[in-house]
């Protein structure tokens, strides 16, 4: 089993490497080049040359990639094109904010969704299940901004429970921070919990249809015992996978939610950079997001290995 874990870890590292290559390739392959795209049609040839030199574009691609990667590993992600700020200094606090918001939502969503998903599966066909089915179906169909605006209208504008813009800054007291981010966190939670609930439900249903569950019932075990002792240990692996998959939804949701609530997170930074075509910032943000994502997936896969009974007790 240790060997499998090590393999998976190495695979994770390899994936990160491949992802960095992919990001770099995508941003550096242009019809024309970065210089003319950014400086525009009216740029003089001399300006283009100077610009290229500034960006280090006169160096061959693989060398540029290598420089970029080494720099990134040292925490140097370069300088923004638009405002000349040091990228890493821009990213770090914002990454913290985004992770806080995502973590807040995950903390609420995961137990809620997994618990309700298991409940729905156990009561398949009954009212609880039908209700869960229809409500989650509607929830996953709604765009994030729709949910966000509805919440703003009902909780911030009509009644003054929460602020409609979430301003957080460094050094803010924890409770204040939690208060400011509650509305966006609720929005994220609703979104992700719905997906997770549906997937958890189908995973548990799949386990409930196995012959050994039937055998447990035939031995005279009570429903509760069958679910807790027989079904859940085998549903653990698929549920972990479900949670990992939904961390992806979380990342996607975070970006839009940050826009709605004008929350100073990494998503906002990236969206700004995209609209301004600030390539170094785009590369950096993309790399950071991807790293978080790959790390989460690798962790989840390793957990799945650890939980597998066939691997814990070898032949």
């Amino acid at each position: 089993m240790a060997k499998l874990i090590l393999n998976r870890f190495l695979l994770g590292l390899l994936t990160l490497f491949a992802v960095s290559v992919l990001i770099f390739v995508c941003t550096e392959i242009l019809p024309g080049d970065v210089a003319s795209a950014v400086l525009g049609m009216g740029a003089t040839p001399e300006a283009l040359v100077i610009f290229r030199k500034e960006l280090g574009l006169d160096v061959p691609a693989y060398l540029r990639y290598w420089n970029w990667l080494v720099g990134a590993l040292h925490g140097d992600l370069g300088v923004a094109l638009t405002n000349k700020r040091v990228i890493i200094d821009e990213i770090m606090p914002r990454l913290g904010n985004t992770l806080f918001l995502a973590g807040y939502a995950a903390l609420v969503a995961i137990p809620l969704a997994v618990g309700l998903g298991i409940l729905a599966a156990i009561n398949e066909g009954k009212l609880t299940d039908k209700l869960a089915n229809i409500s989650t179906l509607i929830a996953i169909s709604l765009p994030e901004f729709f949910i966000a605006y509805l919440l703003i209208i009902f909780m911030a504008v009509n009644v003054d429970w929460f602020p409609s813009l979430s301003t957080v800054y460094k050094g803010m007291p924890f409770s204040e921070r939690v208060y400011q981010t509650t509305l966006p966190a609720i929005t994220l939670t609703l979104l992700v919990a719905a997906h997770m609930l549906r997937m958890t439900r189908s995973s548990v249903l799949a386990v409930m249809s196995t012959p050994y569950i039937e055998m447990a019932f035939l031995k005279g075990a009570r429903r509760k015992r069958v679910i807790v002792r027989h079904a859940l240990p085998n549903a653990a692996a698929p549920i972990i996978t479900v949670i990992a998959l939904n961390m992806a939804y979380l990342v996607v949701g975070v970006v839009v939610i940050e826009a709605v609530f004008v929350y100073p997170g990494l998503g906002q930074l990236m969206v700004d950079a995209v609209s301004k075509r600030d390539v170094p910032v785009i590369q950096a943000c993309g790399l950071v997001f991807a790293t978080v994502f790959v790390t989460l997936n690798t962790l989840a896969d390793i957990l799945v290995i650890v939980v597998n009974p066939r691997l814990r007790h070898k032949r």
Binding site: E124, I134, I153, E214
Partner: protein
């Protein structure tokens, strides 16, 4: 009531009705819309009235007209994306499943790496570099989405390739094209159709989300997500302007999901949880 020989539920009927409405509106917008696409007929964020059913948008155009044109655009783009994504995904998925060996390994690894970057992030990167023109949007999102379709098609293909009737066809010496189109595809229809519905919803929401961020369909084209963005400020005054296009998006997506859910439940067998004790 029965449709195609299967019992229709209330929710599925509702869903189909809404989808039909959207399709008709999108196809015949120029004839059905009360006003021309960009005509200024009222004041900013006018209240709904008899002439303007949903009131005015941020510069006084008829909200309903804009929504109809916006729906036409957004649905059209989403449909184009999904179709292209399916074309790419199914071909590569089935070929990988049937041929196997290095073709399969190549595509699977490529898809694995692509799926290691969250979709929105990847899309943002590409759009940031290439700009947000409609062809770029369609191509980028389609390629990204095809990874999911690839996974499904490949899984279906592998399940079907081990069927003896596929082996019988290969033993005969049938070519790859025959095996894919005559042996595998006819048996993979049902899950693929429901997946089409689900992917359409996802892409529809995705493009609306991108437009909402200002990175999707650019003005002057009307599109539902962009309309939410343009009218967003009205929220602060307690006005419902951005809610209308957002509701339109939600309504279509819910309807497609209801219909797909119904399709999936037709074939579903009751699980062990329903055994009689």
């Amino acid at each position: 009531m029965k449709l195609f020989g299967h019992k229709l539920t209330v929710s599925a009927a509702f869903g189909m009705a809404v989808i039909a409405l959207f399709v008709i509106v999108s196809l015949f917008t120029p004839w059905l819309a009360p006003f021309p696409e960009s005509a200024n007929v009222g004041g900013t964020w006018d209240e709904p009235s008899m002439t303007m059913w949903f009131g005015g948008d941020q510069i006084g155009r008829d909200m309903l007209t804009r929504m109809m044109y916006g729906a036409r655009m957004t649905i059209g783009v989403a449909l184009a994306i999904t179709s292209l994504s399916f074309l790419i995904g199914i071909l590569s998925g089935f070929v990988s499943a049937v041929v196997g060996s290095w073709v399969d390994i190549f595509f699977s690894r490529l898809v694995d790496v692509m799926l290691s970057i969250p979709g929105l992030i990847f899309a943002l990167i590409i759009l940031g570099v290439f700009g947000s023109s409609i062809p770029v949007l369609i191509l980028t999102i389609a390629v990204l989405d095809s990874t999911r379709v690839f996974r499904l098609a490949r899984a279906l293909g592998i399940n079907l390739t081990v069927m003896e009737y596929v082996e019988a066809a290969r033993l005969r010496g049938e070519g790859l094209w025959w095996v894919i189109t005559r042996e595998i595809l006819p048996n993979a229809w049902a899950p693929l159709v429901s997946e089409f519905g689900l992917r359409f919803c996802f892409n529809f929401l995705f493009i609306a989300g991108l437009s909402f961020l200002g990175l999707g369909i650019q003005p002057p084209y009307a599109d539902l997500g962009g309309m939410v963005r343009e009218n967003a400020a009205a929220i602060n005054f307690g006005m419902m302007a951005p809610i209308y296009p957002a509701t339109a998006i939600a309504l279509l997506t819910v309807s497609v999901n209801l219909v797909v859910d119904w399709m999936l439940s037709i074939d579903a067998r009751p699980s062990g949880a329903q055994a009689e004790l």
